[in-house]
Symmetry: C2
Subunit: 191 residues, 2 copies
């Protein structure tokens, strides 16, 4: 749990005893490639941390997967929307590789926050971090062309392109596989 501990401490000064209290609730879990951590219609009451692997977070819109995020090592994740609102999920969480994750239940999160002001602060600040990422995402969706967003993803998360098939990346970028292929061709002709 060293990676998890380090990641929490990157947000707030958590004492050893508070950390020990918090970590006791996390449980290790393994998912094989192709396994679903969550399917639409299910409730999600766990919060996860990626120790190893890659998980896709997607919805089905008219039968087609719309990838919203790829969670890789060091990410905290869940279907945060359904988790927060306590409603059935409209999304899927699927292991794109064999994965090792740590999970904690919503009730245990509540216990941890009730017990420790500093861990509640970690909660607030990690929510802030999520805000920053979503804010950037919205700005990118609004102000950048698809080509620019492709180039930016290539720059920000280059290893993703080795781990994930291109048609899922196209989906993440809000494109069809054909559309992304065209963009790549256009770029390869110029440069």
């Amino acid at each position: 749990m060293e990676d998890l501990k380090k990641t929490i401490r990157s947000y707030a000064n958590v004492s050893d005893s508070d950390m020990e209290f918090g970590l006791q609730f996390y449980k290790k879990e393994i998912f094989r490639k192709g396994a679903h951590l969550l399917q639409a219609g299910q409730y999600i009451s766990d919060f996860y941390f990626v120790q190893r692997g890659c998980i896709s977070y997607y919805t089905l819109e008219e039968g087609k997967a719309q990838v919203m995020e790829f969670f890789t090592e060091g990410y905290f994740f869940t279907d945060l929307y359904a988790y927060i609102q306590g409603i059935p999920s409209e999304s899927y969480l699927e292991a794109l590789e064999d994965c090792v994750v740590y999970k904690i239940s919503k009730e245990d999160v509540q216990k941890v926050f009730d017990h420790s002001h500093q861990l509640e602060r970690f909660g607030r600040l990690s929510m802030q971090r999520t805000f920053v990422i979503n804010f950037q995402r919205i700005n990118e969706l609004r102000n950048l062309s698809n080509q620019e967003r492709y180039l930016q993803l290539l720059k920000k998360r280059p290893t993703l392109f080795q781990r994930v098939p291109q048609y899922l990346i196209a989906s993440y970028l809000g494109l069809t596989p054909v559309g992304l292929s065209k963009i790549r061709k256009r770029l390869s002709q110029k440069g």
Copy 2:
């Protein structure tokens, strides 16, 4: 400050004494139509609550305003991105009408959170609320057509169309004024 108090209590059970402690830091401020609460390049260290009026939150991209949000009565707002990161803003906050707001400084927010676990919880939960809104925004940007987003805005915030010129709404929707006009024409011909 009754509206402010009510809004805070809609997030967390704050005791009277904690509430009193928190509210002492808020200061009332008035902005005339056209006034800027924030300009690009400035640091923003205040958090605001809209008592009365409408504030646009926008960036300039190649000289053109890109409206990201309209803040109306009951909204908490700031340039949250610059506020959180402590970096100079790239955005503007402009009163579209005469406005009454309450504001609190970042340092005072910190004092309040340090003083009261329940107010820190309010902070976390209001951040969660912001997450939910941004999440929906991202989904709308990704999965809905411009026409659908226009119709949805019309449904969700109908009064906005009486308060705000159409070209700003076009910008909010990520369209040109011409584009929005076309959509409206298309709809009026069908229905």
